[in-house]
Amino acid sequence: MRVSGKGLINRQNTVNFKFDGVNYTGYEGDSVASALLASGKKLFGRSFKYHRPRGVLTAGSEEPNALITVGEGSFQDPNVRATTQEIFEGLVTKSQNNWPNLNYDILSINDLFSHFLGAGFYYKTFMWPKSFWEKIYEPFIRRAAGLGSLSGLHNSDTYEKAYAFCDLLVIGGGPSGLLAAKLAAEAGLDVIIAEQEPIFGGRLNSETEQVDGMPGSTWAAKTIESLKLMDNVRLFSRTTITGVYDQGTFAAVERVGHHLSKRGGDLPLECFWRIVAKNSILAAGAIERTIAFPNNDRPGIMTASAVRTYLNRYGVSAGKSVVIFCNNNAAHKTASDLLESGVNVAAIIDTRENSETALDVPFYKGAEVSNTFGRQGLKSINIKKNNVETKIEADCLAVSGGWNPTVHLTCHMNGRPTWNDEILSFVPEIGAIPNMAVVGSANGHMDTGKCFESAQKEINSLLKTFGKSSKTRKIPKVESTKFEISPKWAVEGKGRAWLDYQNDVTVKDVRQSVQENFKSVEHMKRYTTQGMAIDQGKNSNVAALAILADATGRGIPETGTTTFRPPFVPVSIAAMGKNAQGIGFAPQRYTTSHVASVDRGAPMVEAGLWYRPSYFPEVGETNWRQSCDREIEMVRTNVGVCDVSTLGKIDIQGPDAHRLLDFVYTNMFSTLKVGKVRYGLMLREDGHVMDDGTTAHLAENHYVMTTTTAAAGQVMRHLDFVHQCLHPEWDLSFISVTEQWAQFSIAGPKSQELINAVLDKPISSETFPFMSCSSVGILGEKGRLFRISFSGEHGYEIAVPARFGESLFRLLVSRAEEIGGGPYGMEALNVLRIEKGFITHAEIHGRITAFDLGMQRMVSEKKDCIGKTSASRPGLLDSEREQLIALKPVGSVKQIVAGAHLFDRNDDPIRENDRGYITSVGFSPTFGHVIGLGFFKGGQARLGEQIKMVDHLRGIETECEIINTVSFDPKGDRLRD
């Protein structure tokens, strides 16, 4: 029911929306809850377990009952609080957890069996038979109990992440927060103020209180207008601070698009902020709690402050005849506000014997509500005083059991709130969050004057730390009323008294938890599910633990609270995971030949972040093996071109460069002559192989190290560590030039012919023998040439500045094709190296030593190197270690598969007999069979023996023979030719 002349809504602008298929109208500024209440709607949803009819309980993000699904199809968003969802033209909402509809929900039959369904029911009942749990019980329970559901479609919304920095983060835009922000901003601090509502003002928008002689909401709006004019203040509305983390980092979720009809385009639905603040002020206010009395969950029963919010902020009366039930004087304002607006107040029931009121309404002091009636909406209540019950008609019951300061954020770094007897609630622990001050009702100040004073005090002391004067600044004038409260947690009587509406937890459940010996507050929470799910018990926690304290005979302070953890309100995983969706999942690195390779139809494979051509299909080839086999033959008989730019390239220069190389490689580099290249093996501190590659001595004190693609970053980091931490005295410098140079491998008997086609000065095997390197001219541009080979063929690697990469690749390939060659991809490259027994990170996977690879002789005895001492430990030189071997199939089964395990020929293929595994496999067209590389215990001594390969996953068993790891050209004549 709308009340004229009230509210901060824009009555000029009507807004149409739907709830459960029915059209409703509200005004700009309404929430779904306020607009539905204005239309007389009381029933909003069904409860979690018993499917009890439920209405709206609050007017904020703490709402446990009025959970709705917003949007349709892929835009569907479940479990949205109707109290926080703003209405907009075309908004579609629906209720949750009911079938066939909200009014007639079949599963409300659960309510009749509630005796059997109390806390712990599942744990006790669904114990047996064990096999029933997964297939029958759990699916059934999941269907019966629950909240909203996802659409099952791909999410069509856009999300965003952002970072912000400030001197002061003010959390909460109510009176305390606004004053704190204003005072800090006027003193010149860089301020962010975050408010979860669309408008700033907090409770000022919900009350009729005067501030500085004007309505509180007007003061708030004026303050915001003045803050907007200051360039050192940022106003974050619709933004909830959800978590506090180390070093002044705060998580926040901003609702960017939830209130707009524009969805699915570039505009994000939510933005997940990380705010780093030197200081923070928590001004998050307090949340009103209810009292547990029999049948206190009927639609129409809500918190007293919510009734005021609907009246004063939205111009809606929550009922035609309202009763107030409270244990404190603040709730009396509800009655006076309603009366001023012409709404009938049927009674004020105050549990305090000494309470009084000047209002002209039936007043019951020292009384309590003993029962309520009305299945789908409140119709009447019973008032009990001195064991006499009186029934009165009412369609709205405004309840106040006191206020819980919003201490949550102060607990995110292990702070424990402390009990305050004056307000009967927990207040934040002082110093719980470094550099955070708590002001206003979040700190237990229950009147606006005290709130302002606390904000002023904290800002003054903060300003001192910034070296600013803490002169007394004027604070707004308000009329203060002392908050008075006496304990009343629960009313005894017949009927269930609800504590946690969202999880259907009653006073009886908490008591039962104690009976079952789940007495700790943390155990009680888990046994009853109190304080879980969307609202995280914002209303119910304190009352529940008061009941627990009573049942256990301990005091409330000793009982303590459960642990408040982030997030304070639900945050979409999509917002936190923004940028990890679709193409944004990982960055992509492209070589300069990418377009040319794709133009030739090469499928690309990911190698780390790089995209590399798998193979280059030719007309008539229908599968990759045909292309791969052809490319291998092409390299072995003619010439092939392959982009190897992805390998790490590190320029190392300076008079001490050779010292670094000697120290990080196992073998000697200081003896390497200018113009020569050497293969090197690099160990970790623990003696295992980190990486391998070649290093070229390009000029005096100038080397170029090559790393594998996979370990480029790791090696760079390693070199930085060695230079900066172990040998800072060395005069040298190194820098990654991976991106600077496009580098191509040219391999095959005709490689020299091809290379000479692009070199300014031709080379020969005599002038440029195997393992040579030089700066060269390539078609007039400066380049580098290395005579190295990863294929076992006469081969080169040629490098040009990356801008010329594509051009050179295209040219090399077309020239190669003229002489019977062409490009080759990763598949062929892999088989070529397997035929030669060359290792990659498939083999050097982190648990392998030089000894395991048969490269022990590469660990120079003439010098020290990183990992040398560790690698000489007896355990790493055990002849029974898994050692690198090569295999070929010798039985009727010809398959060798990577990942398969190796066993002695006559052993059962069981775990205990496992002797090794396969790391790399390729079909060698050169030899006509598959070759596998792998590791086998004591393998190097068993050349020529037959063993057994078993792939348990694929069910393959192959008889294999251990062969020389270098199948192709074991003497290396072709390389040196």
């Binding site: 970072y163 780093v276 992509q588 492209y590 820098i735 991106e739 078609l779 051009s807 040219l811």
Partner: protein, 180 residues
């Protein structure tokens, strides 16, 4: 004689213009990494001044002006613009990096709002003043940001990641522009 044809790092990816904010590739720069020899920083700075008109930059800053700048680049200094004077070789190790980086110049009103969605640094003009340089992340990509003007920032990213960089900047720019 056949010539090799150059192709810039962000060829075909730029210009990007959304709202009044633009991203263009600066592709005419010579980039040289300069690393001072042990104990030669002062001499190097003097020679740099003689050769190119600017001293070595302080940490997190750039020296020089448009056309010839020296950027703090972590352990190295990056000379941006001119071909590096060989005389610097006496005091430093020089490495050509002209082809290693894609340099994107981003200008416009949405600049800060876009970068604060991608980089975990305070990018506002009052803290990241003109002439400031920072090495940071831009979502998935490691970058160096250099503020060349109140409304202009140069983004240095790996050449191989130019496409991802443009994609990420475009996405953030579109989202920020959609708020208007």
């Amino acid at each position: 004689m056949i010539k090799l044809l150059p192709k810039t790092a962000a060829a075909g990816l730029t210009p990007i213009k959304i709202s009044n904010t633009t991203i263009i590739e600066i592709d005419t720069l010579t980039l040289t990494s300069i690393s001072a020899n042990k104990g030669k920083s002062e001499k190097l700075s003097e020679q740099l001044k003689k050769s190119h008109g600017m001293s070595l930059p302080h940490n997190g800053r750039a020296s020089g002006r448009e056309g010839a700048r020296a950027l703090w680049f972590g352990q190295h200094t990056l000379l941006v613009g001119p071909k590096c004077d060989e005389k610097l070789n006496k005091f430093a190790i020089l490495t050509d990096q002209s082809d290693a980086w894609v340099v994107l110049r981003m200008s416009g009103d949405l600049l800060e709002n876009v970068l604060m969605r991608l980089s975990p640094v305070d990018i506002r003009l009052k803290t990241f003043k003109v002439g400031s340089v920072v090495r940071t992340g831009l979502l998935h990509v490691n970058v160096t940001l250099h503020r060349v003007g109140a409304n202009t920032i140069d983004v240095y990213g790996f050449r191989s990641m130019a496409k991802t960089l443009c994609h990420e900047l475009t996405q953030a720019l579109s989202a920020v522009a959609a708020r208007d």
